[in-house]
């Protein structure tokens, strides 16, 4: 039996159409886009066609798209670049306690440089309250960075409302849309977004390539210094094949968004209903409705996430966990803790993220495998027997 891959929020396989689009640029069309000869011009043309497609995908203009090495670089450039370029205007940045570490750790580094950062709390579903954002805004606030949808629990933030608040106060607004892209219709003008991070490999594109949308007129410094590529926004010879792959991936995502969303929602709801109906002391994390179509995130009380993941892996099921043991730290997921979930529960989380390759049969198999795996681990757990004693009283 093959692997049932349920970790699409971590990465996705390259779609055959994307691979086909990329291949010529690894071999016969290998030109450096900065050159003047025919071969180079062909590469440059492909680069600009991809830029146009990415721009269309988010309702932007082509010259507002800068290609990067992925979501992490885009987030770093947005935060560091805006903070440094706008230091004269102010010193304060607002973000949330549930951001990806590419944003959170960059914010922490900026604090060490002397910037002041507010980390907005979230409610029990992982939602940012717009009222909290309004309260946090100061005269010296220069940047708001709030993710479009959360990578762990899949909660979708009220980006349009946040964008309006940012616009009213004339504050630059960045959103990390790495997880939302392909599942939610993105429109930087509708949502008042000034900077937006994208990554190809979450969208059936290749790893190592992404983009940062920079609204025309936004004051931002570059991270890298070097040649004139990307109009100096991002020096370094362009990853032409990767960028072509990103262009094809967003094109595909645009075409398939409706169909993909409906299919994933159906499978996800089947999975959630089966897990919550079939296993005691299981709960769903994140928002019941405002969640990404492919995201199912659970906590199984009395067991630890890594044991669960390894047990599922031996059954050919690939998932992920916010467990401390899988992240190499002693603290469980910062997202779950920010949602008010206690440490002991946060250790027992399981994230299953669905994608194009998954079928109803996959979900049925997970629903058959999961209960005995959870039972085996609970039978070993001193917390479970203690709890069983309590409930018998």
């Amino acid at each position: 039996m093959g692997t049932i891959y349920l970790d699409h929020a971590a990465t996705t396989p390259v779609h055959p159409r994307v691979l086909k689009a990329m291949l010529p640029y690894l071999q016969e069309q290998y030109g450096n886009p900065s050159g003047v000869y025919h071969l180079a011009r062909e590469a440059k043309k492909a680069l600009e066609a991809a830029r146009e497609r990415v721009a269309q995908f988010i309702g932007a203009q082509a010259q507002e798209i800068v290609f990067t090495s992925g979501g992490t670089e885009s987030d770093n450039m947005a935060l560091q670049g805006v903070a440094r370029a706008n230091r004269g205007r102010g010193n304060h940045i607002i973000t949330t306690s549930i951001e990806h570490h590419a944003v959170l750790d960059t914010a922490l580094a900026l604090e060490k440089e002397g910037f002041s950062v507010t980390y907005l709390p979230v409610d029990e579903y992982g939602l940012v309250r717009v009222a909290d954002l309004k309260k946090a805004i100061r005269d010296d606030t220069i940047l708001i960075s709030i993710m479009y949808a959360n990578n762990e629990v899949g909660t979708i933030q009220p980006i349009g409302d946040i964008g309006r608040v940012a616009r009213e106060h004339n504050i630059i607004f960045h959103t990390d849309a790495v997880q939302a892209a392909g599942y939610l219709p993105l429109d930087v003008n509708r949502d008042g977004v000034d900077l937006l991070s994208l990554s190809a490999h979450k969208l059936y594109g290749p790893k190592g390539v992404g983009a940062l949308y920079i609204r025309k007129g936004t004051r931002i410094d570059t991270l890298l210094k070097g040649g004139g590529q990307e109009r100096k926004w991002r020096p370094g010879t362009e990853n032409v094949a990767g960028i072509v792959g990103l262009g094809e991936a967003v094109g595909l995502a645009r075409e398939k968004m409706q169909e993909r969303g409906a299919r994933l929602r159906h499978l996800r709801d089947m999975l959630i209903a089966g897990v919550l109906g079939g296993i005691d002391f299981a709960r769903l994390n994140g928002h019941p409705e405002k969640r990404l179509p492919g995201n199912a995130h659970f906590i199984f009380e009395f067991i630890e996430g890594e044991s669960l993941l390894l047990s599922l892996d031996l059954e050919g099921i690939a998932g992920s966990s916010g467990s401390a043991c899988t992240s190499g730290s002693l603290e469980p997921s910062h997202v779950l803790l920010a949602m008010g979930i206690p440490h002991e529960l946060a250790h027992g989380s399981l994230r299953l993220t669905l994608g194009d390759g998954n079928t109803e049969e996959d979900i049925k198999r997970v629903l058959a495998v999961l209960p005995p795996v959870v039972k085996r681990l609970r039978d070993m757990s001193p917390l479970y027997s203690q709890n069983a004693e309590v409930s018998n009283c």
């Binding site: 044991s307 401390a324 043991c325 002693l330 440490h343 070993m380 757990s381 001193p382 917390l383």
Partner: protein
């Protein structure tokens, strides 16, 4: 990232459970950290004759728990007190560095159970 032996002990742990009317009980770790081990022992003529464990934790925590129960059975109290977290990890062909301090508590749990036994018998 785990040795074959860790995986083997994680998948087929020995001596799961709790001894009824144990001579000593030891519990270490806490749910906040993500690892709890509870070890119960039976002692006869200064020898550990039975050991059982219950563990909440990662694969390393479960494998080390199982390993300590097998290492401790038949040992005198003095010998059992000489077992260390390090010797348990070595018997499992090592643990990933990050696990050495967070999930490698089995000898501590056994020692806690022995101390409990010693307290009770004095």
């Amino acid at each position: 990232m785990y040795s074959a032996k860790v995986m083997e002990f994680f998948l087929n742990p020995k001596n799961i459970g709790e001894i009824e009317n144990p001579d000593g009980v030891g519990e270490v770790g806490n749910p906040r950290c993500g690892d709890i081990m509870r070890i119960t022992i039976k002692v006869e003529d200064d020898h550990i004759v039975d050991v059982k464990f219950k563990t909440f934790g990662c694969a390393a925590a479960i494998a080390t728990s199982s390993m300590i129960t097998e290492m401790a059975v038949g040992k005198t109290i003095k010998e059992a007190l000489e077992l260390t977290n390090r010797s348990v990890a070595d018997a499992l062909d090592g643990l990933p560095p990050i696990k050495m301090h967070c999930s490698n508590l089995a000898a501590d749990a056994l020692h806690a159970a022995i101390r409990d036994y010693q307290k009770r018998s004095h």
